[in-house]
């Protein structure tokens, strides 16, 4: 066991997999010699060489297409897209190619590609370095979509993703790379070393894709959240002193319907929280699932707390960010409904 932040945990996952499986290769912009703009691949090229850890041209569509070709030729590529906001030039290669190879060839071809990409705001990134486009990918059949909220899950899920024979889009909430963040930018930063999920085994282990985590057990209301919002929701629940159950959805596709619905059936109330814009967002899928499966257990309408339906503005980042106050207001409303 070691204390790791999320950057180190992700690095450790790739280190473990590069060491265990000669088919694993890593490619992306600035990820080789330099170690990545967020340092997630630091030291890996030095350790495994330029043929296993490749710097690439600045061409997200090319990176994903090349990763697909490598995957078809028996490698297990892990492609880094420097910011989730930059993934769109590669969108066709993800949606029409990566996600469909197995299907359209009736299983004869597939490409086990993992696409890692930092997402989310809270770092003064403005509208081109803050997006959370997970719902755009969960809407595509044929890919798995993951977003961890802590170092332990990050490493275990990334190893699962790399070992998976299907493509995985792996979102890394960059605001919590270095420590859990409760949504208050004025408080001093908290390091992962003070958090129980900052304890990370050095070697190989997995956190399975398709299973949600329970962050906090409770009886009065279920909060469904993932990524940075898990920590903001925890703080909001703490500040209200309520007995909430917080589910870290963790893998958006496939969704762990059982864990979600068991919790909501128990509490009878539910608030869904995500950082991405609300309209057509992943929260809508969660709300629909809860409504379809737990309707007769519900005591109150299910509410969503999300980013506003605007781009992520640079100057008004904290007005956009769905912070503790908005989550607390939704929780109060849901709890007060008779």
């Amino acid at each position: 066991m070691a204390r790791m932040n999320m950057v180190q945990a992700l690095n450790s996952a790739m280190d473990v997999m590069l060491g265990r499986d000669p088919r694993v290769v890593i490619l992306g912009e600035d990820i080789g010699f330099f170690g990545g703009v967020f340092r997630v691949t630091d030291g890996l090229q030095r350790k495994y060489g330029e043929h296993r850890v490749l710097d690439t041209p600045i061409a997200e569509g090319g990176i994903i297409a090349a990763a697909i070709g490598m995957g078809v030729n028996g490698l297990k590529p892990v492609a880094e897209i420097q910011f989730a906001d930059y993934i769109y030039p590669g969108f066709d290669q993800v949606v029409s190619e990566l996600a469909r190879l197995r299907y359209r060839s009736a299983g004869e071809f597939h490409a086990p590609v993992t696409i890692r990409t930092p997402c989310g705001g809270g770092i003064r990134g403005g509208q081109t370095h803050s997006q959370s486009p997970e719902a755009i990918f969960t809407h595509v059949c044929g890919i798995k979509v993951v977003m961890p909220s802590n170092p332990y899950d990050a490493k275990g899920l990334l190893i699962s993703a790399i070992e998976d024979d299907d493509p995985v889009v792996f979102f890394e909430p960059k605001r919590i790379y270095n420590g859990p963040f409760d949504g208050d930018p004025n408080k001093p930063a908290v390091p992962w070393s003070s958090h129980p999920r900052g304890e990370v085994p050095d070697g190989h282990y997995i956190v399975p894709i398709g299973r949600a985590g329970i962050v906090r057990e409770g009886n009065d209301v279920t909060v469904l959240a993932y990524g940075t919002m898990v920590h903001v929701a925890e703080a909001a629940v703490r500040s209200l002193g309520i007995d909430a159950e917080i589910v870290d959805v963790r893998t958006m596709a496939p969704l762990d319907v059982d864990t979600v619905c068991t919790s909501v059936s128990k509490t009878g109330r539910c608030v869904v929280v995500h950082e991405a814009t609300g309209f057509g967002g992943y929260g809508a899928e969660l709300v629909a699932t809860v409504q379809e499966q737990c309707f007769w257990s519900l005591e109150a309408p299910v509410l969503r707390v999300t980013g506003w339906d605007t781009p992520y503005p640079h100057a008004f980042e904290w007005e956009y960010f769905p912070g503790q106050a908005r989550i607390a207001a939704a929780l109060r409303q849901v709890l007060e409904t008779q």
């Binding site: 290769v25 041209p57 297409a65 090349a66 070709g69 078809v72 190619e97 359209r104 044929g142 969704l255």
Partner: protein, 426 residues
């Protein structure tokens, strides 16, 4: 007059009712173009992107340094593959017209591109075609019944009814699955070739796109990655003059040849007479040798002409002269190879007619067999429940649930046949 900018809209040399005009196609005499060593530098090869490699002369003799000196037996095999490809296409087109398949795309006039290119490569080389290189399957010995079953979406369909006709694949034959989204295979082929180099394998990748889809960003990705990593890949740009209704000028071919893009990226660009079986073979062989010696990628512009419609959904008489194909200066690849073999004393009209008859009968027999495995309108039918398979390696719970829903719906429909599946939503 105040100077001002003017938007240039490229116009083809002739529209319906006008005289065809191919004066824009620069053609080198057969045998006139130098054949550099496969280790030559890109700078020294640059003239090849402007000229046109041609081997077969007007007198049907093979001339010049690019002559691959194939044995008559090999030439006869090439002729047979091209002829089979054409007869297969013709048959499938007629079948589509009869409404027995939904769609088809012929490669008429372009058979040498797939067949000669395919024959110049090794069986282990991985092919990433576009939708008009069915000749590659023929070269690699594919049973035509399998291609027909794909077009029929029947019980023997390799795609299990999931793809439109002609979107073939062949894992065992090293032919990649065809995408309807154009040009995506080009950078994938480069990635495949990069992996071959990483693994230290002696295999290369070859890909084909049309000149029209070379306007996609994927072309640029492929060229950049191929140049940066010197990947062992052959990138074929099939310039058949027409992308549905827009002529090659709309893809940027008005002022520069497509082959010239190669040197711009640091990759050799070779312009070849795509209707000259020997020239296509020789250029492909050159590029393959270069790639196998760590010389990296080659861009080959295959200059040819789409003699037929884009697809069975297209009517080219609405946008180009009806008889334009007759004026195409590079002729017909099958006729040219046939005349070459006759000039060598290795073929005759009688043998050609006999071969045509034999292959037509073969295609007819294949179709009979293919139809026996079902059509879209008559059984046996594929089980619709298979639509939930292969989305993932292992079926996730939501798909298991939906498959069960569909099964129940179908069972209910079977039990109450007066309610149609459409009404039930299934």
């Amino acid at each position: 007059m105040i100077p001002r900018s003017r938007l240039h809209v490229p116009a083809p040399p002739a529209r319906p009712g006008q005289e065809p005009d191919f004066s824009y196609v620069q053609i080198s005499p057969a045998g006139a173009v130098n054949r550099p060593d496969v280790t030559a530098s890109v700078r020294d090869i640059e003239p090849l992107s402007l000229e046109m490699v041609r081997v077969l002369g007007d007198d049907h003799r093979a001339v010049g340094p690019w002559n691959p000196h194939l044995e008559p037996g090999e030439l006869q095999v090439g002729l047979r593959h091209m002829l089979l490809t054409r007869l297969f296409d013709d048959r499938m087109q007629r079948i589509q017209r009869q409404g027995r398949i939904s769609f088809y795309m012929k490669s008429t006039g372009e058979e040498a591109v797939g067949v000669a290119g395919g024959m110049a490569l090794e069986p282990g080389d991985m092919l990433f075609p576009s939708y008009r290189q069915q000749g590659l399957h023929v070269v690699r010995g594919r049973n035509l019944v399998e291609l027909m079953c794909q077009c029929l979406s029947n019980t023997h369909d390799m795609c299990k009814g999931r793809q439109m006709p002609i979107m073939y694949h062949w894992g065992r034959g090293n032919i990649f699955t065809i995408s309807g989204n154009l040009a995506t295979q080009f950078p994938q082929a480069v990635g495949w070739a990069m992996a071959a180099a990483i693994k230290g394998e002696d295999r290369l990748a070859a890909s084909w796109i049309g000149e029209g889809s070379s306007a996609e960003a994927d072309f640029h990705y492929a060229m950049t990655f191929a140049a940066v990593y010197q990947a062992p890949v052959i990138l074929n740009l099939v310039n058949n003059q027409w992308a549905i209704s827009t002529f090659q000028g709309f893809a940027g071919g008005e002022h520069r040849t497509f082959a010239q893009r190669g040197p711009g990226y640091g990759i050799p660009g070779i312009r070849v007479d795509g209707n000259d079986f020997l020239a296509v073979y020789a250029v492909t062989q050159w590029a393959a040798q270069r790639a196998r010696q760590s010389g990296g990628a080659t861009l080959i512009e295959q200059v040819t002409y789409r003699a037929g419609a884009h697809s069975t959904s297209d009517d080219p008489s609405r946008y180009r002269p009806k008889e334009e194909w007759r004026a195409w200066p590079l002729g017909d690849p099958i006729e040219r190879l046939k005349q070459h073999l006759i000039a060598l004393g290795e073929w005759s009209d009688a043998r050609h007619t006999a071969l045509e008859k034999e292959l037509e009968a073969h295609v007819g027999a294949c179709w009979k067999e293919a139809e026996s495995y079902g059509t879209l309108t008559s059984g046996p039918f594929l089980d619709p429940l298979t639509m939930f398979e292969d989305v993932f390696k292992e079926m996730p719970p939501n798909l298991v649930r939906q498959r069960e829903q569909m099964r129940e719906l179908r069972e209910a429909t079977a039990a109450a046949p007066h309610i149609s599946p459409a009404v039930q939503g299934g």
